[in-house]
Point group: C2
Chain length 171, copies 2
DNA sequence: CTGAACTTTCAAAAAATAATGAAAGATAGG
DNA sequence: CCTATCTTTCATTATTTTTTGAAAGTTCAG
């Protein structure tokens, strides 16, 4: 396979899987393009290579910057802004975990706390099932919260080697 | 807060977060409803409680069954089918991981293998960046593949206690 | 200042996704 | 068999999400 085709395939696939992750297709495609581009790209280059409009490129680049996956690069003496993506996938994964935790788990935990304070007689089966389930989800969420914080702080080698040790002890 | 309101809030929130996970709102709401219902529900009860059409209820229940999150329950002597959801969240999480791995990672890994075989001179910066990035993603994916398999097989106590031990050794 | 070069915004259009409900398909009891 | 009861399908409709592109905004060199 030639580079151009491989690149197109990579972008298409990254875009396809992105949609399963609460990220829109174009955003994931821009990310993929930047991941495999040796040089920083301008908005125009992104527009050209992906055949998207200026507005679309601008919005999704901003969103990628919000997610901490892409940075603006200002080159002295150039009017244009350039964009670059972190290429170390471990760092990318950690950044995604960090953001999703902030946007999802951290919002869910207080909601669960509220819900666990439902009034009612626990001898009522409906009340019991509700509180038990919420309680179960809370425990899980708080466990996950700690685990993800550790992963966010971890460096790659320490993390994987610890995880692998974990496996070794079981299998 | 009264049970009815708490239930409505839980369903609304579970539905909202579901959409970040490649699951549609209604599917997540049905799941939430079943999670907090002490009894198995018929399609009609799901329709009534969530105000959705018969076709919608049917489709999303099927999808939940495909995901292994809901089961059909046949009660002898009853014409209707009933539905029930696994209430242990650890099992639910494991099932979701299992399905998503099958639908995403297992499909991505062979694509990455293909892409890593791109032709071209590695002294060409574009080729080098591409192959390096793909290689980096492959390594990561294969590591994740093993880790997830272990999690899928693990039982809750073993898993969390191992993970907590992991933390203990670092902090 | 001025205006060329670039970025951002946002209302409108297009595309993608989800929901409806009526009709067709099962199934089981009589 | 028939028929009442329940489930499934799917063309149509509704909703949501994404994209476009022109206009407004910004910035900076001269």
């Amino acid at each position: 396979m030639q580079l151009a085709e491989a690149k197109a395939q990579f972008i298409a696939n990254w875009g396809r899987f992105g949609t399963n992750w609460g990220i829109n297709r174009t955003m994931a495609q821009i990310h993929a393009l930047l991941l495999v581009s040796p040089d920083n790209l301008s908005a125009d280059e992104v527009m050209d290579q992906l055949n998207i409009s200026r507005g679309n490129a601008n919005m999704n680049l901003r969103e990628l910057i919000d997610w901490g996956l892409v940075q603006k690069v200002i080159i002295p003496g150039e009017r244009k802004e350039f964009f670059t993506a972190e290429k170390d996938i471990w760092k990318v994964a950690r950044q995604i975990v960090k953001e999703r935790k902030k946007r999802e788990l951290d919002l869910m935990i207080p909601v669960l706390k509220d819900l666990s304070e439902v009034e009612g007689d626990r001898r009522d089966k409906a009340v019991k099932t509700f509180t038990d389930t919420i309680q179960n989800i809370r425990k899980f969420s708080e466990q996950a919260d700690k685990t993800l914080d550790t992963m966010i702080k971890a460096d790659e080698n320490w993390f994987w080697s610890s995880v692998m040790k974990l496996f070794g002890s079981k299998h």
